[in-house]
Symmetry: C2
Subunit: 400 residues, 2 copies
């Protein structure tokens, strides 16, 4: 069976994701689509809108055959580590290719960029350092350095100012770094940009826009058309049971997690670097809500997502020392599958290079314990999540 891997968050699963699955399957001629999906905290440093189980059901209903969890350590990391974790898992599951949505929609520019940057790595790193030293944010510094490198060269090269192109490029780099045999592929993302608000003339909207519209309206009525029916049903049930997650709903606990510590102690948490700790504390002492907090903390030096990742790690008590102690995924946790996914797993069972975990209670992997802890803390922050605290140990993979 031919397998294609995709890297996902499904926060929530919408028509664009449906398109991604269908197109990836067609373009790579795949028998099985394997989605490696973030758990309950996401790469942009946010608690998930709905938990990983609801998102897994949405994914399976949307055509994914197998859904596995990207461990917290990678799911909440900077793009390069995020990509490394995801590629390691898809590779371990013996995917033939991986396929990402990108603004460019053509794989060749990515390959060209990768080859050039590999060759010019030393110059590239030097340029990045120079740019960072001027005080700009890291993503901006990367992009400026990149333009110096490609200037005057024969392309085409990938446009690394676009968020999905950047992620895709990291996937290629990461797959290469683990000498994966997976073939990189890309499809064009359609219509909605990453940060776009909802455009009513289209049936595709970004996940960000969908979440925003929900929090503004208090219900899903405005966003139904951007979601498969199965997603709407799933989200409605989740909302009724637990309410949706966002930093605003997590704010009282987030604030408490910051105020537990003297500023110097905040530096122990992953991604918190010297200089911002006093600001974090001061903002937590004075802000009335999460929006007010971010207004006080944001600066040219740090991107919004970088700050949110710091907050995620403070919230989940994940330190630099934790980060350094994990290099690569040590297990594959099954979240869900259909019959095709099941058949695939059986067919590759002996070749899968990491332990596949379906019963968590039987395992004591420290990386997995972090996932469990993150889930308990996620349900601690959801409006009505308390009843699910402690449940992640016992939940078996979803089979549809």
């Amino acid at each position: 069976m031919k397998a294609t891997g995709i890297v996902t968050e499904y926060n929530p699963f919408h028509n664009g994701h449906l398109h991604h699955i269908n197109q990836s399957k067609e373009q790579t001629n795949a028998d099985v689509i394997i989605a490696v999906m973030s758990g309950n905290f996401l790469q942009r440093g946010e608690p998930a809108f709905a938990d990983k189980w609801a998102r897994t059901r949405m994914a399976l209903n949307g055509g994914a055959d197998l859904v596995v969890e990207l461990p917290y350590v990678f799911a909440t990391a900077q793009a390069s580590d995020f990509a490394k974790g995801a590629m390691a898992i898809l590779d371990a599951l013996r995917c033939d290719s991986f396929c990402f949505g990108s603004e460019d929609g053509d794989i060749q520019p990515f390959i060209n960029t990768f080859d050039l940057l590999t060759k010019e790595r030393a110059h590239y790193n030097l340029y990045i350092k120079e740019e960072v030293a001027t005080g700009m944010s890291y993503p901006k510094a990367l992009n400026n350095a990149y333009h110096k490198i490609i200037s005057g060269r024969k392309g085409p090269f990938a446009d690394l100012s676009k968020p999905n192109n950047i992620l895709g490029f990291h996937y290629i780099e990461a797959a290469n770094s683990i000498q994966s045999a997976m073939v990189p592929e890309t499809i064009q993302r359609i219509q909605a940009g990453y940060h776009d608000d909802i455009d009513e003339t289209m049936t595709i909207a970004s996940a960000t826009g969908i979440r925003k519209a929900f929090f503004e309206n208090g219900d899903l009525s405005e966003v139904r058309r951007y979601l498969p029916k199965t997603s709407v049903d799933e989200l409605q049930a989740f909302h009724q049971d637990f309410g949706f997650g966002s930093w605003e709903t997590f704010w009282p606990l987030l604030r408490y997690s910051i105020l537990r510590h003297q500023p110097e102690e905040l530096r122990q948490f992953s991604e918190v670097t010297e200089g911002i700790e006093y600001l974090l504390r001061e903002a937590a002492l004075t802000a009335p809500n999460f929006t007010g907090f971010m207004e006080r903390v944001k600066s040219k030096r740090y991107t919004w997502t970088r700050i949110q990742r710091m907050l995620t790690h403070i919230y989940t008590n994940f330190t630099w020392s934790d980060l350094r102690s994990f290099e690569t995924p040590t297990y594959i946790r099954l979240l869900g599958m259909n019959q095709t996914g099941k058949d695939y797993l059986n067919s590759v069972k002996k070749k899968v290079t990491l332990p596949v975990i379906s019963r968590v209670a039987a395992s004591h992997d420290p990386m997995l314990e972090l996932d469990i802890r993150a889930t308990d803390l996620y349900f601690s922050g959801l409006p009505n999540g308390a009843g699910k605290i402690g449940s992640d140990y016992r939940i078996p993979p979803i089979v549809i």
Copy 2:
């Protein structure tokens, strides 16, 4: 001016406390009553019913002339350290005597007990060890060992099975250990026992009973008669603004503070000893509320208050290493005074042996920073306390 020190929590200030102040003043012939009072977390390991400012106002209206804060480090410690901190502060403020309420009500048995236990310290410690080794709680072990020591001796000796006698004895020990010149005195506590529910035939009820009655009824109507009018007014205002504190109202944050940590990490917090960490975590994962949590955690090995003190330290992020880094109070924080208290302070200003702090913002004492942090975390847990987070830095002493 003749000054008498008293050790207080005023949680809340009731008729029994009024009696204690009046009797102490009369018996010691004092011009000024100095109350050293716990801040927002108390010796039995609980968040205060009302904050330290409301309790200071109640104390001043009830006849205390000067109210100073017992730092968190001592206020939440085991009885012997609690007593050491309190005695060090009263001694530094040049009190001529200290006067505690006790079940015995006569100072001579305490002196006899102190002299005997000083002489027989080695035997006493040996007996305690033997008793603890049988698996009983520490207070029980102390009491059994004590009975072995006094058996057959000529008394009278203090009855150390009674909670206020025990505390009083610790005060005498502590005052002695710092070679204080303060004269120990005691008055008899009247009518209500420490843990008694409210008895409607008496106008004196325990603070515990008063809090319990409030939480059962949802208002103060049933308990007015046990409180001075000024306390009722103060409490009503506090309740309207913030709601009252108890572990039940703090439960979501307390649970979160436990679930942030793997069990092994819980051992870093003060008073958490090996063996209970897994129980704490398991109970936090499964209990629906604080009562359910304590039902799962309590055991013969640990007293209720000992467990609550562990929880206080987990909640405020106070570790064994913090505990070890502080030996004796390093400042005296003024919470409130009347004209008599002010005059007294002026008269002893040059003889006071610790810095007296009225403007906290100007100070950077690490012990004081803990008090400030504890206050911010206290208001984080109160039903409507968020608006007061960050305020403790700026609040000057109350002057009436």
